[in-house]
């Protein structure tokens, strides 16, 4: 029974995505909405990304210093380990899990409210493909802007570690800077960017699907928002396992 429901939901999701990825009625309108969504979903997320990244970077550095303090380990390994954690997991998976909460709930509640207030029906009556009109700009905007957020996150998280070193002197700043430059693998940055593209698609499309299919009133919009965040978080974690295996083999 559960399997049947899951398969049915997945089928519905695929049909929904098929409707979303059709040619927009008017490209000019699409680009206007795309720019609006970049501002709403992307630029508005920068403060959150920066704050979280600085603190996580700082905490990682403190944790590394506490756990890697051994006479057998060089001091610069604090910077090196902080960098690896940030590039390999934090800026792609953890950041997208956090954004699933902010962006996912925003998308699901916005589209869900439009559904229950008949705004989506109004679009359909006018002969507009509502899924394409409402959802495609959101997916396109979030997927294209996520790389900027990831790069911001990388820089500010490493900056957070740097700040801890400056303020507390747990590791000399020059040693930390040496650590984050040592044995640097460019591919780790690329794999974080690639993973984040998949995660951004999952967050925006799953949230849109839950919002678009709301039936009922305000209570159901809230439930859809919660379901969107939970479901996209689970899919991010599942995809993370697969993508990490594929990309770092």
């Amino acid at each position: 029974m559960i399997l049947r429901t899951a398969l049915q939901t997945f089928g519905d999701y695929c049909l929904f995505i098929w409707r979303v990825f059709s040619i927009p009625d008017k490209w000019k309108v699409f680009f206007k909405r795309y720019i609006d969504e970049i501002s709403k979903l992307g630029i508005d997320s920068i403060p959150l990304v920066v704050i979280i990244s600085i603190f996580i970077g700082a905490v990682c550095t403190i944790q590394m210093e506490l756990n890697v303090s051994s006479p057998l380990m060089p001091r610069y390994s604090v910077g090196l380990a902080t960098r690896e954690i940030i590039l390999l997991e934090f800026t792609s998976s953890i950041l997208c899990l956090i954004l699933a909460g902010k962006v996912g709930s925003n998308i699901a509640s916005e589209i869900g409210t439009m559904r229950v207030t008949e705004q989506i029906d109004a679009l359909e009556i006018m002969g507009i493909n509502s899924a394409n009109y409402l959802v495609l700009p959101k997916i396109a905007a979030f997927v294209s802007f996520i790389s900027v957020l990831v790069v911001f996150s990388m820089a500010t998280a490493l900056g957070g570690g740097y700040l801890v070193c400056v303020v507390t002197d747990i590791v000399p700043v020059s040693t930390y800077v040496y650590g984050i430059q040592t044995m640097f693998q460019e591919w780790y940055v690329w794999q974080a960017l690639i993973k984040s593209l998949f995660f951004a698609f999952v967050v925006s499309s799953v949230a849109s699907y839950f919002g678009y299919n709301v039936k009922g009133g305000a209570l159901e919009v809230g439930k859809a928002s919660t379901n969107a965040v939970v479901t996209s978080s689970i899919f991010i974690l599942l995809l993370d396992v697969i993508l990490t295996h594929v990309l770092l083999q």
């Binding site: 008017k26 008949e118 029906d121 109004a122 009556i125 006018m126 002969g127």
Partner: protein, 261 residues
């Protein structure tokens, strides 16, 4: 003219529409009335194409929408305007933005022409100084008028209104009714109104379809309704003491008038 021929619709095991046939005329206010749960909303959604009936034909000036492909349906939708129960205005757009929306999506007008047309429609529904306001800043009646302005922006041939008076005070309801009636006559639109409001039924009902338990219960005009011996219809329209008195008054005036002659 819109003609509905023998349409039926079921949800799970429950048959909501049973072989309904009706005609809705150009330049007239056509009303669909009935008790809650009688199937009138499903009927309207079927006519608009939001619900697919299992049987029957829905003809828009001879064009059967049940046999149309997506492209043909899309073209037809440009001829349709709809006023929703909750107005369904786009929250993120101003009044002007809402009314310009169908023009932006479907017309080849320049920006200045679109603005001019939208302002004309807003003025037509007697809204002033509201162009830059957002829907949340408007009263229920004003929202309805903006929705009417948006619905007529593309000069539709067919106008559908789902309970246009719900949630409005009696005075505003009459204003909305008059506005819909005027627009229907002025532009020769086929207007179909789904309503519970007896003031509307007796005020602007030029062609009334009474839906009873999913079937066509009665068809007639607002004047014919007083003479109907259909119990279900009488129990619905003249259910309150006020409307019973209206009926008695109407019959009294008619008898008095015929005696004078």
């Amino acid at each position: 003219m819109i003609e509905v021929k023998n349409i039926s619709k079921s949800f799970d095991d429950k048959q909501v529409l049973k072989n309904i046939s009706a005609k809705f005329y150009d330049g007239k206010t056509n009303l669909i009335i009935g008790l809650s749960g009688s199937g009138k909303t499903v009927l309207m959604k079927s006519i608009v194409g939001l619900v697919s009936p299992e049987e029957g034909e829905i003809l828009y000036d001879g064009r059967d929408i049940t046999k149309m492909d997506i492209k043909q349906m899309k073209e037809l939708r440009k001829e349709i305007g709809m006023l929703f129960q909750g107005s369904a205005l786009f929250d993120s757009e101003t009044v002007l933005g809402n009314v310009m929306f169908p023009l932006i999506m479907f017309s080849s007008m320049s920006n200045a022409e679109m603005k001019e047309r939208a302002e004309f429609c807003i003025e037509r529904v007697n809204l002033k100084d509201a162009n830059n306001k957002y829907p949340s800043e408007l009263s229920g009646g004003m929202q309805k008028r903006v929705a009417i302005a948006r619905a007529i922006a593309l000069n539709p041939k067919y106008l559908f209104c789902d309970e246009p008076n719900s949630g409005l005070d009696p005075k505003t309801s009459i204003l909305i009714d008059e506005l819909l009636s005027d627009i229907t006559h002025e532009y020769g639109i086929t207007t179909i109104i789904n309503t519970h409001d007896m003031n509307s039924v007796l005020g602007i009902g030029e062609n009334i379809l009474f839906v009873n338990k999913g079937e066509c219960g009665w068809v007639g005009t607002k004047d014919e309704i007083y003479d109907s011996d259909n119990d279900a219809l009488n129990n619905f329209v003249f259910a309150t003491r006020l409307f019973m008195q209206v009926k008695e008054m109407h019959n009294y005036n008619r008898i008095a008038g015929s005696k004078k002659q």
